[in-house]
Symmetry: C2
Subunit: 439 residues, 2 copies
């Protein structure tokens, strides 16, 4: 049995072919049945004369909407049919898997139950073409990034997710029992990317899971997310990291636009704009000044930092002033950055770090790392950290670690911004939050 | 400052250039210093006249071997120099990161400390070019697989690694506290790949971590490993899965051979053989008969199954008979396969499943899955499983799940076999075993 994709039926007029997909509509009339079968390439109407095929018609009557079917029939050119001016006349049908009646919810209804309920039946939710499209775009975007990196001599790494020390700060860590001793789930591949720099790998990337025991319920947070990470050696400053990331994103947006631009416009009403280079850059001092001028007050507990409202306001400013969707906010104060961010030689109160804001949402933190062991130890002590816990990490800087830096970017946040989705929950295959471990 | 790669120095004779890398050798003589600097593209000798540069010479004398250095100097054609007939005359040097003396171990010594000690200092171990090469090959191999999949319409997924139910059997699970309730680390993306089939994704792949709380200390086992997974819908049998996997591997081996064949030969003494299609196939019944004829006895506790010795013996048989490195062993008895493997319609004692043996080592388990909910439930009960725990999984088969199947393959095992490595520990960036959570 050779399968024909529904999108290819136009070239099969007059032939008997087999299609496979999901029963999207069943109109069961007195003398006739009209089925609409859907696969990834489209939908087609299938016509059944009950008198001519009584057994098959009886079988079809038992099928719930969304049943998985294999249908063989003759392809007919019929201009009055709305679905592409084509229909199929049933010859035979196989019910691969019947859908129980009623469905948990009807994925193609105009009104849908609440997102949380739909997440219980995520696979039904994912049958909507716009949801499938999100993951086709994700596939294209990830492949584009890897192409960019391979063209630029990067090595792919997979760092361990079970780690022995709570070294990256200790908050929001999931812990587990590891053969009688504690282990933790990695919050990021940060330290292992740096180990790769100490190993002389020079340029690495990783796309993999990261874990945060963060009890947040916002539209931006997940307890498990896919982190896009890169790290490069022999840099002069965080400017080298920003330069790599903006070229990466330009390359990725171009590939997504080429492959899916029209469908994104049709399904999400969004024009994908390939960003121009360089992205606008603001120092945090400039950003704070701009917010002040625009009468935006960062909450008192976020002094020196930014809150989501401030990020949105700066995104708006950049859109108005530069007609750009991205902005690098750089040179953050040491108080709001981790100990391993390098400090400016001429201003030890500022780090050589940045965030990337896309359409007003933070999607990246990046920095040059401090690779000089003595200074790194001092900065850790300044932050009140325990050098014993950090000793494994500090050892990376003992035997010739070059200057380096990198960034981490949330994959689902990137998709959320790119496609204008309301919540990161729509941009992830299976969501994990404080109250959600299923499916 | 523009960096010149050491491999490009031949085109820079007579020019002053800057190179960056690691100090592999330092010969500190009375009047002269000779340095060998290494980057990923090669090594070069740098000559220092002490009298001409007394301050720089004094600085160099403090450098430990494996220090990270930036060196500017004039490139000289000198046929008597062993390293490519080139040397550089020092003009300036920057010590990016000095290496403490002595090193934890000398990575370029002929004799090395035990592997377990070297793993404590994994980054030094990884500085050896043959180890870097393993991860360049891994990068090429993964990219080749993704290219193959994208050419064939697959969607990339990232399934959650924290899961709410111990549904895949329950043994060897790591558990953790998830906001006051138990969670588990996924042993494989198996159930989520199947959810993607129920979602109509049709063809998916994932390369990501999997976790096994397995107290084994063999050369093949890890508690955390990278699993290469694919799943396809609308199949007729496990033959469709094998067919996809053998084409994937042929494509991957060809790409690895094209990119690294000569270097693999030079560093590992291995000729990469691109496998011919189709791979040999044996039913388990045939395999057991062959073992019997070759006087190999599978241990009594492995009845119906295979032990590592049996796998090696069958690998040897296939090499002798077909001059092939791969063999699919198919149609395993239901006793040694999980409940979700589909059974043969004409022989309910046998599953539509397979293992892939490569050079005598099992690297894959694959199967057609049972997608008919009533039969799946019955098979779960036959295995003594609790349907309540499985209810989330069983729900995937309620509303139209097509016939499907797939495989999982260990990335490090594949590299181990491809490169003839003695242990999977050499093929993984950072190893995790029962006694090893660091680095």
């Amino acid at each position: 049995m050779e399968r024909t994709l529904i999108g290819d039926l136009r070239s099969k007029i007059g032939q008997s072919v087999t299609v496979q997909g999901w029963l999207q509509v069943l109109r069961d009339q007195k003398k006739m049945q009209f089925l609409v079968l859907r696969d990834q390439t489209g939908a087609v109407q299938i016509v059944v004369e009950k008198a001519a095929s009584p057994d098959q018609a009886a079988l079809i009557s038992t099928c719930g909407v969304e049943s998985a079917l294999t249908i063989t029939g003759k392809v007919i050119d019929n201009p009055i049919v709305k679905l592409g001016g084509i229909e199929m006349q049933l010859e035979s049908i196989e019910v691969n898997n019947n859908a129980a009646i009623p469905l948990a919810f009807e994925p193609f209804n105009d009104t849908l139950p609440a997102l949380d309920f739909r997440m219980d039946w995520r696979y039904l939710e994912l049958r909507r073409p716009e949801n499938l499209l999100i993951f086709k775009i994700q596939t294209t975007a990830e492949m584009a990034m890897r192409e960019f990196w391979l063209k630029n001599g990067f090595i792919e790494i997979h760092s361990p997710k079970m780690v022995g020390t709570p070294s990256e700060g200790g908050a929001e860590l999931f812990s587990l029992d590891y053969f009688g001793r504690p282990a933790y789930l990695a919050q990021s591949p940060q330290f292992y990317k740096q180990m790769a720099m100490a190993a002389g790998f020079e340029r690495v990337f990783e796309i993999g899971p990261a874990f945060r025991a963060d009890p947040s319920f916002t539209s931006r947070h997940m307890t498990e997310f896919i982190s896009i990470d890169a790290e490069i050696s022999w840099i002069d400053s965080h400017e080298d990291v920003m330069s790599m990331q903006e070229r990466l994103l330009q390359y990725t947006y171009q590939k997504v636009k080429d492959a899916h631009g029209d469908e994104i416009k049709a399904r999400f009403g969004i024009d994908i704009t390939v960003p121009t280079l360089p992205f606008p850059r603001l120092t945090m001092a400039e950003a704070q000044q701009i917010l002040k001028e625009r009468n935006y007050s960062v909450p008192a507990d976020k002094k020196g930092d930014l809150d989501p409202g401030g990020e949105r306001e700066l995104g708006q400013y950049i859109k108005e002033k530069y007609n750009h969707e991205f902005v690098f906010l750089k040179d953050w104060p040491i108080e709001v950055r981790p100990f391993y961010h390098m400090r400016h030689a001429d201003n030890p109160k500022l780090t050589k770090s940045y965030d990337l804001i896309a359409k007003g949402l933070e999607i990246t933190t990046g920095a040059q790392r401090e690779h000089r062991r003595d200074i790194l130890e001092k900065q850790a002590l300044d932050k009140g950290l325990n050098l014993d816990i950090l000793s494994g990490y500090l050892d990376y800087f003992k035997f010739g670690c070059p200057a380096h830096g990198g960034f981490g970017m949330g994959l689902s946040r990137l998709l959320m911004v790119m496609l204008g989705l309301e919540s990161v929950r729509e941009a992830v295959f299976v969501f994990r939050g404080p109250n959600r471990l299923e499916p």
